[in-house]
C-alpha cells in the first residue's frame, strides 16, 4: 500500500498561466489531487472555474475546488461539479465549506449569518441534494431510440423531491450522470461536529502529531479516506501543523506519521507547487509514494464504484 499525496493551493492569482504551471507540475509529479481554496470574501478567482480552466490541460490529477454551501444554490453546485467531472473526464471533487462570516453574508445580501450548528446542518442537506442530483440520471438514460423517436428513457430519470429547512429541490438534474457517478466529496474537519455530520468521502484533518493523527483516524468511520493537512513553510499560525525544515526532515515526519496513524495520506498546504517537488522525489525514493495508474479520482483514492441510489431502489 502506498500513501496518497495531494497539495492545497490557495493562491489568489487571476492569471491562468500561474494555475496552469502549478497544476501541470503537480500532474507531472504524479500527485493524486490538488485542492483549490476559495471563499466569497477573499481576493481571488472562483475555484470551480480555476479547476475547469486547468482540466483540459492536465491528464491524471484530481481537481478538488472549494465551494461554499451557505449562500449558494445546491442545484447550481451540483451541475457545476458534475460538469467539472465531464470536462476533466472523471477527475472532479468538491471540498465543502460553510460561511459564518457576517461580512460574506452582506456580500450576498440574502439573509443574516447562521450559527455554526445550523450552517453544518444546511451543508449536510446541500450534500444530500447534490448527491441525489448526481444520481438523478441513471447511466444508461440516454437511449437515442430512432424507432420510437425517444432520446431518453424517462423512467431512468428521477425526481429527487428533497424538502429541508432551508431549501427544497425537485430535480432531476439538467446534467447527465457524470463519469464518476459521484464526484469525490471532501471536507476540512477539526472535530466530530463535522466528520459525524457530513456525508463526505474524504476528510482533511489537522493533527498536531502522529498520536493525534492516530486518535482521529480511530474516531472517524473506517470507510472514510483521511488525509492529514501539513502546512509547508510559513510562520503565520494556522489550524494545521506547520513544518519548517529540510526536505529530508519532512519526509521523515510523513514516514513516521504514516507508519503509526492509519492515515490514507497527506495534503500539503503550499504557497507554490515548487515547494514540494523535492519531497515527492524523496518519498518515491523511499518507496512510500507511487503514482496511481487509475484514471478517475475515485479509483485513485480507492473509493468504491458509486452505486446509483435510484437504480438500486428500482431493482429492489
Amino acid at each position: 500500500m502506498t500513501l496518497h499525496l495531494g497539495v492545497a493551493l490557495s493562491g489568489d492569482s487571476f492569471a491562468a498561466d500561474d494555475w496552469i504551471r502549478q497544476v501541470r507540475e503537480a500532474d507531472e509529479a504524479g500527485l493524486d489531487f490538488v485542492t483549490f481554496d476559495d471563499t466569497f470574501g477573499r481576493h481571488g478567482p472562483d475555484a470551480v472555474q480555476v479547476a475547469a480552466r486547468v482540466a483540459p490541460l492536465t491528464r491524471h490529477i484530481g481537481l478538488i475546488p472549494v465551494a461554499t454551501t451557505t449562500h449558494t444554490e445546491p442545484f447550481h453546485l451540483s451541475t457545476a461539479l458534475a460538469t467539472l467531472d465531464w470536462v476533466s473526464r472523471g477527475r472532479a471533487g468538491w471540498q465543502v465549506r460553510v460561511s459564518g462570516d457576517p461580512a460574506e453574508a452582506a456580500l450576498l445580501g440574502r439573509r443574516a449569518p447562521l450559527q455554526v450548528d445550523a450552517l453544518i446542518a444546511e451543508a449536510s442537506d446541500a450534500i444530500e441534494v447534490v448527491r441525489r442530483l448526481w444520481d438523478s440520471w441513471e447511466d444508461d438514460a440516454i437511449i437515442s431510440d430512432v424507432a420510437t423517436g425517444r432520446y431518453i428513457d424517462r423512467e431512468k430519470l428521477h425526481y429527487i423531491d428533497f424538502a429541508g429547512e432551508h431549501f427544497s429541490v425537485k430535480g432531476p438534474s439538467i446534467v447527465p450522470r457524470p463519469p464518476q457517478g459521484q464526484p469525490v466529496v471532501a471536507a476540512l474537519a477539526h472535530g466530530p461536529q463535522v466528520w459525524d455530520a457530513l456525508d463526505a468521502d474524504v476528510f482533511f484533518v489537522t493533527p498536531a502529531d502522529a498520536d493525534d493523527a492516530a486518535r482521529k483516524v480511530r474516531t472517524i468511520l473506517p470507510e472514510k479516506k483521511i488525509f492529514a493537512d501539513i502546512r509547508v513553510g510559513g510562520h503565520i499560525p494556522t489550524d494545521a501543523a506547520t513544518f519548517n525544515g529540510t526536505t529530508l526532515q519532512l519526509a521523515d515526519l510523513i514516514q513516521n506519521w504514516w507508519s503509526v496513524s492509519g492515515l490514507d495520506g497527506f495534503r500539503l498546504r503550499v504557497s507554490d507547487i515548487s515547494d514540494v517537488s523535492d519531497l515527492v522525489t524523496e518519498l518515491r525514493r523511499r518507496g512510500l509514494f507511487q503514482t496511481s495508474r487509475h484514471r478517475t479520482l475515485r479509483d485513485r483514492l480507492g473509493l468504491p464504484v458509486a452505486v446509483n441510489r435510484y437504480q438500486e431502489a428500482g431493482r429492489a
Partner: protein
Amino acid sequence: MPKQIILAAHFPGVNNTTVWSDPRAGSQIEFDSFEYLAKTAERGKFDFFFLAEGLRLREQRGLIHDLDVVGRPDTLTVLTALAAVTTHLGLAGTLNATYHEPYELARQLATLDHLSGGRAAWNVVTSPGAFFGENFRRGGFLDHADRYVRAGEFIETARKLWDTDGGEFAIRNSQFDIRGRFGVPRSPQGHPVILQAGDSDGGRELAAKHSDAIFSRHHQLDDARQFYRNIKDRLPAYGRTEDSLKIIPGVSYVLGDSDADAQEKAHHIRRQQVSPQTAILLLEQLWNTDLSGYDAEGPLPDIDPVLDEDDTIIKGRAGMYPDRLATAAEWRARAEAKNLSIRDLIIEVTGRQNFIGTASRIAEQLNEYVQTDACDGFILVSHLTPSGLDDFVDQVVPLLQERGVFRTEYSGTTLRGHLGLA
C-alpha cells in the same frame, strides 16, 4: 468600407432543431463535442461561441420531455474549460438573473473574463413562475411583471461591482441590498459583453438601455429591418450611438452543391427534426391539450385550442403563441388548401431553415442582411452536434472574406474588440 459581419456558433440545444437521430450526431455532454465546435468556430474566425443554460428539464403532459435532446452542462464551467482550448473566440452563455445573485455571478463572469483573457459574455434572461423555482431556494418568487426590473437592476449591480476594481461597494435597489468588498480586480474587458434576448416592449427597452448585443429572433428580411430600426431608434434616449448595440439573430442554414441539392437536404433535415411523435407534440404546444390520440399522418384536429395560459401543456419553455385561435385557424386553412397531414404541416410552419442554397447564395444573402441593416451578424444554429458548422466554415466563410465583409485574422484579443464595442 462595408459593414463587417458578426458570426457566432450556437451549441445545438435541447429542442427539435438538434437532430440526435442522425448517425453522425455526437455526444451532447462530453467535452470533446464542445471543444470540437469551439475550435471549428475559431478556425472560422468567429466572434463567439454560445451556450444556453438549463434550470429544469422540459415537461409536456406532465412528463419529462423525451423526444428531443435532454440534458446539458453547466454554462460557466464549460465556457471556462473552453478558454483552455481556444485563444481568441468569445465565450458567451445564458445565465439566469432570477436564480443567480449579483455578487456570485459578477465574480464568476469576471473570473471567466480574467481566465480567458477578455472573452466573456453574458446572455441575461429571467424565468418568472413556479416551474423553475422548484429547483431553487426562493421558489417562484419573481412575478412576470417584475422580470425586467430584476434583469435591469441585476445588470446595473453587476456593472457597479466590476467598476469597483476589487474595492468597496454598497448597493441598494428594489431587488438587492449588498455591501462589502468585491474580490475581483478589473478584468481585461472591464465589463463582460452583455447580450439580451427579450422581444416585448419591456425587453427591447432593457436592451436599448443596457445591452451590448441582442440575440434576436427576427430573421425574415422585412421584419428584421423593422426590428433593427425599432431598436436603434431607442438608443439616443440613453445617450448611445447606433453601433454600440449589435443585433444578431439566431439563424439556421442548409448548404448544398446546387440550390436544388440544398432544398433536398433541407427537406430531409426537416423530416429528421419532426418525427411523427414530435409533430404531435409540437401541435400540442399550440392546441394546449393532449392530442396523443391523433395520427401524425392524418388531418388536423377539428377541436379548438385550450386557452389557459396559466396552465400550459408545456413547461420550461417560453410561450410562443400569443393568439392560439387565430394561429390554429391559419394552420387549418393551410393544411386544407394543400392537403397536408399534421406532420407535413408542422414541417412547414415550424422552424424552417432560414438560409438554404449554395455557399455563394448563402454568402450573398447573409451579406445583404447585414449591408441593408436587417442585422449586424448571425448566431448560427446548426442541427448537428458537433460537426454542424464544418461546411459553413469551409465554404461560406472564405466567400465572406473575399467580399471583405468578414475578418481573415483576429485583429484583437478581446470579444469587445472583435465586436467593435468600446
